[in-house]
Symmetry: D2
Subunit: 312 residues, 4 copies
């Protein structure tokens, strides 16, 4: 990721300007506010505003439960309790805003989470940057044979090289043709006075799905944690997981207690079905269990044994 | 509205604590942050946190439209343009959080706006305060004869007094019975050691709808303006309109440019149907118009003539 | 619950009218369509419209996953998979609409689920019915000493009788005063020509929270299951749980496969935190475990041991 | 748009299957249920399920307003009233589900409306079809010089031909490379046994933004009308407007009264700001008006004069 001198200056200016506020303030997040965290080859995540902190969660819970919260001795205990019992509304009282640069095919996955506010750079109005995502060789995996949406072993040698060549050449050519059709460079200057140029809202269709877009993305903490539980997960596509990982770091700075509870109860936790719980109880009681008697499918049984680290 | 000494102290402490922040900060709103604005006899509105300012709206629009926004000379022009053309997403980039105390029958209207985050004081967990809304004599109106949801002339004399007596006595008696059934005062102390006390989640059903509840209510600026356009309107019930008016004052402090545009394009604006626009054009052309020829219902015609300040 | 002769006739007429449709149709749900299922003393749940069936969930999943779903042999297997892995969007493709009559204090809990569409009977426009919820003696419980939001033992004898007397008398008196202030009976006829009557939007504040309201409530299957997982749960207040139970029956008729999966993976399932999973693995390996070494709070430890049916 | 024989057969089977239902049924919509309405060169819109009709809107309003709706003489009058006064909740009681095939760059605009439920074909799981949108020569417009997001005059001659050549060649080449990298045809058969093939979730990034995707899209009538008011508008991009137009036709069949009201109060209607209303009143009173004295920007003034069909 390379920022233009102008972007660098804007970020520096934003970081230099400090004001006094009566609002809840989180120094650890302030420290990195506005700074881009690099992701992939040209992308980034920047936390650019926030509202609330761990104490705001507690405060909201105490409004709800009133004196009913007295028994819980401290903030961490209360936040753990809320997350464990899926009392989600107090987490909605915190809000964060990011500026994100991301390849379009990942943006399309991302936007399926409908609980955020979004302002995306529009290629109807303006010309997109000449930047596209080319995977690192360490990410060029073949289709998984076990998982319809996963990756298997790495591609190697000639086949890997051929893929990289295709991705680079096609994205570059298509971008160059996009500019040719527009007859306009990124500064809005006409390229060839003898041509008219195609409307931007049409020319953009020639771009490839690895072109980068950018947006402002604002979300409350409850919905952000839900997004992260799905997208920082091992089953998520690598290219969105790295964004989720970068955002998790900002969450850790912002609301460290909620972050810890989230790692404990969501990321590291598992769900057991009624049948799975029954199996566990039988195993603890020393009774014999088997897939055949469990009512589970083979796949489900395998998943359970893997979770329990049993040979199955 | 009377605050307890403890509440006053908490507010003072919150207001006294100041930090340094890199976030956008609005001094005019900071000035009243945490301070309760009295509404009705025991209610209040307190702005307790916010994110963003007028510039954040502009910034979000510029992300979307990129160089396409260059032509708009200034922030006010751009914000006017956005509101006029219902480009609403940039307004979603600002967020505000209120602490509100409001009678339950108004809270029930309010909660129908589903776009806010809410944490409400729960009478399942805790005992409600001994406070209920009794209308001022100047608000004791009879049912409107023209409007199925409106108020007409004021009640007077004996009938007005009888209403006030009923409201006070019934609310008071029901609250006292609530406490008696709970067998617990607001401090959680048992009243009569020989009785068990009814569960709070049941006892609360004896309260009247003018009992006060309170909540934290957090919403983005776009949805707040939509709420205010409905609830600060002349057709809204007085008891919610006074809350909307108090919140409008906080919006004016917070985002003065957006507030001005809102007053111009929403609050002071009107919508014309295709038929109404046709009538206006004919009138401007000096052609004769009449309800019969307009295709409008009598009611609609009356509304249009009132809007245009014509005799109809 | 008693229906008026007019209501009975309307329901019979709606049930008698049959049309031919190309849409997915579910005979088991059609069988009870429009029929009120009684809940509490005057409440009911009526399924009055629906869209989609179990096959619609499968169909939506197959659009998403295309040939990727081929491997899953049957509909039940696919629906189980979707629910187990929280792939929730296919469940959003089914929709149901209910007509519900419910006491106001329960309606206030209910409406906190913001994902449904609602049209509620408005006491601004019309006069409410003279009906209020009076708990059965078998539900008159004291406050739980262990659980801030729960019920403990039953009240008995004189104290129980006193509670019932208060609830009945206060609700009745307040309703009678409501009608007196309105100076209007439920047919809209004036009671006393010499009085003006208070506006309906004001008079309603004298009602008690156990008065019944009613609404149309429309929701998609995913959000309905989420609602039911919280409200059909043992921790939910009895007065809302009985509504959830009635709705669960309609879900069983409507989408039996999804219903079965829901009972297996949500209602009967449990969540284990990272620490809890660790404990289970140790126990399965025959290693010693203790609350002190687990990093769990005492409460959390007790909950885990209860889940695993261990002495703890 | 060409359907495969298998698709044709599925549609015919779905259309042939008829059941008896007690639900509200709309014969005019049933007539075209499941049938694809062609849009653009390979796209379509298919209404595949619905819930409710005009009467359901009226019924929901009557639940809300109770006896307060008695005065409104008929359904059309009530629906007009609801739409005119933006009482939107009764329109939420109707729901419709579409199957849509649309180019990705248009799908990206579309998905910004977050109020619908969506299941989209996933290129992580399955291979996309070899279909891309190539504009008709009559749509190849240059960038508007007045409107940053609009189209101006048509491109002609050589430049138009060059654009068409680029779009076709780039989309085709990129698709062929996509298949080569996958090393898998659309039936899932391996192309070259000596290569491994790139994971689908990666290979898709080489596709162009005019490739077609498809989804199930389910929405309530209120939100659908909002979508259509923006996307069937003259300012919307042609390529999404044609979808909105096709959907408007289905709305006309489904809820003809609501459709008529929508055309009257939304599509054909205009909004006037406070200042604009003031100008209109002055003009009606024969007083002189001018942009300079109006407080409006030149652009706003021009828009108003165009609306009023005045020379300005």
């Amino acid at each position: 990721m390379e920022l233009t001198p102008q972007q660098k200056q804007e970020i520096e200016e934003a970081r230099a300007a400090k004001s006094e506020t009566r609002r809840a303030t989180v120094p650890a997040l302030e420290e990195i506010l506005y700074e881009p965290i690099p992701v992939l080859d040209h992308g980034f995540v920047r936390a650019i505003d926030y509202m609330g902190d761990d104490a705001a969660i507690v405060q909201a819970a105490r409004v709800s439960y009133g004196k009913g919260t007295k028994k819980v001795s401290d903030d961490a205990g209360l936040i753990n309790y809320l997350l464990r019992h899926r009392h989600t509304t107090p987490f909605e009282m915190c809000e964060i805003k990011y500026h994100i640069k991301v390849p379009i095919f990942i943006a399309r996955q991302w936007i399926r989470h409908r609980t955020a506010n979004v302002n995306e750079y529009s290629a109807r109005y303006s010309v997109l940057d000449r930047e596209f995502y080319i995977p690192d060789a360490s990410q060029l995996a073949m289709q998984s044979t076990q998982n319809h949406q996963g990756r298997g072993e790495l591609l190697e040698g000639e086949e890997a090289q051929r893929v990289l060549d295709i991705l680079k050449e096609d994205a570059t050519r298509n971008y160059d043709h996009y500019v040719e059709m527009l007859n306009e460079d990124q500064n809005g200057d006409v390229i060839d006075e003898d041509r008219s140029g195609l409307a931007r809202e049409l020319a953009r269709m020639n771009l490839t799905l690895n072109a980068y877009t950018q947006w402002y993305w604002k979300i409350d903490l409850h919905n952000l944690l839900h997004f992260l539980s799905l997208r920082a997960d091992a089953h998520a596509q690598y290219e969105i997981r790295v964004y989720a990982d970068a955002m998790l770091e900002t969450v850790k700075r912002w609301v460290p207690i909620a972050h810890k509870a989230f790692m404990q109860y969501r990321v590291g936790g598992v769900g057991l079905s009624a049948a799975a719980l029954d199996i566990v109880k039988k195993m603890l009681a020393g009774e014999p269990v088997s897939q055949e008697d469990s009512g589970m499918s083979k796949r489900e049984w395998r998943e359970l044994m893997a979770t329990l680290e049993q040979d199955g």
